[in-house]
Symmetry: C2
Subunit: 335 residues, 2 copies
Amino acid sequence: MITIQDLGEQALLAQLQRFSPPDLTGDDAAVLRSPHPDSLVISTDMLVEGVHFSKQTTPGFDVGWRAAAANLSDLAAMGALPLGMTIALGLPGTTPLEWVLSVYKGITACLKPWQTPILGGDVCQSPVRTISITVLGKVPPAKTLYRHSAQAGDWIIATGIHGAARAGLECLLHPDQGQSLDPYHRQAWQTAHQRPDPRLDLVPCLQNLNTRITGMDSSDGLADAVLQICRASQVGAELWTEHLPIPPGLNDWVGQSTAIAWTLYGGEDFELILTLPENIAQTWLQTVRSTLTLPANHCPRPIGRITPNPDVCLLTPDCHRQTLDLKQGFQHFRP
Amino acid sequence: MITIQDLGEQALLAQLQRFSPPDLTGDDAAVLRSPHPDSLVISTDMLVEGVHFSKQTTPGFDVGWRAAAANLSDLAAMGALPLGMTIALGLPGTTPLEWVLSVYKGITACLKPWQTPILGGDVCQSPVRTISITVLGKVPPAKTLYRHSAQAGDWIIATGIHGAARAGLECLLHPDQGQSLDPYHRQAWQTAHQRPDPRLDLVPCLQNLNTRITGMDSSDGLADAVLQICRASQVGAELWTEHLPIPPGLNDWVGQSTAIAWTLYGGEDFELILTLPENIAQTWLQTVRSTLTLPANHCPRPIGRITPNPDVCLLTPDCHRQTLDLKQGFQHFRP
């Protein structure tokens, strides 16, 4: 097995440059054309072994795919399309070359449908495998999706099911517990965890709308996204329990209470949470269903409504209200 | 002492957002205007505690300053000016908040002369303090500095002295050995190591030239920069020993042989190595000296010439030739 310390920095960089267009690498920085009149959108993420992934349970390909998907999802959440991505890797010298190449293959596969180049990056020594990705995108200024523009009465739309990535993680961590599951569901959930699809497919039909749209991705959970939008827009929300985008089959497997918790707080589904004026939302949902051939799990659907009251509540069919709280979501650094 | 696990992720992010313009943070990504008709330039770097800095010997402010300077230097090396910077931090929960804020203060201080905003970023848990910076810049397409355009006969220009950062590191690691030094030199070298100045000041007067210019920064050493330019341009070079940009006072302190080695291979001076046609180089050097008020250590000077012969040699006044080799430079991952 060849490790990267066998290879050395220059030879490793030469291997990684093969994943980038030749005209974009080999200098101090990558150069690309300005996408005028669009605005630039930039976002960055760091992933650390033992925190965001385990080298034992996550193949390098999936580490790369998920890292790329998370960054592309941040672009989709701004209504933007990708221009390119830089990758910085911190690696122990004993890291197998094979693993590093697998990460790059995963990133490349995730970028492929969007024809997005890797713009080069950096490799350096670190005691822990670390990946830092920065993605650059473009959006027409008037079509940028912010979090602060939701208004009372807007419909809240989830672009697909939520909780599937959490369920998939459970299946991967405890394969024995998934034995009773429909193999179709198990596979779908594991794929949701290992190879999430960023919702860039919806960006063009969001850009076609001439209306106020609020948006955020649900990487930190559906509830977190609704709470962040409400906080930024100084409004509240009610989510309708019977319309929660619970993955088909999940109630039967873990019971309704856990299924709702995973749907609200599971995270890493990389769908979008949008708010639109009600009449436009209805038309848009019909247009999306008729023009895009979407798998059922990735179909946008209304899940609630923005309210003037600043609370974010879950509303049961019998009008019981439960207030949602960010503290139930994922937070770094807490011991 | 408040640690970041006392604070939690959301409160830490709120503290760090104060370093960014309010309109650029709080969403999934930062949005900025496209700099049309300029091209975009993007570069990324990762710094790891114990590899690139020591929390014992490098204050957070200097860690931040040097990280920002290294990235700005990559832009200068492309002939570009900065648009903004993203910062991803991987941190153990026990990291003092004070240290994180110092890093941000150092970055902010380094960016200030260039009015460059921090475009937000990411914080996450890591067993080792890690900083990943991505810088975005702009350059008129015809003014972009590449490595591959050097031609035989060009003058090689260093934009300032080299080896000062290496000497400053020595002074910091062994303060007792620096006692005999002129305090002015000691201070200048330590500053060169702790607070290097990226050479963005030269970018406007490089953009004013209508000629072929080749360029790279000398972050990995003067010799490395010349070798990389020669490799990319398929040419060679001779460097003139008596014109090497050795820091004043260094010969006296460490002897000529070590002074030359530090000048060629020391690295981290973050100056530029340029090649220009001889007649233009002469005029440009005069223009720079007469229009910019530069400290002597930061004055551009000719150090050699590009040759058709592919070797890179050091030429002594008595015409002795010594071939330079990249292997003497710094390489990651070698055990």
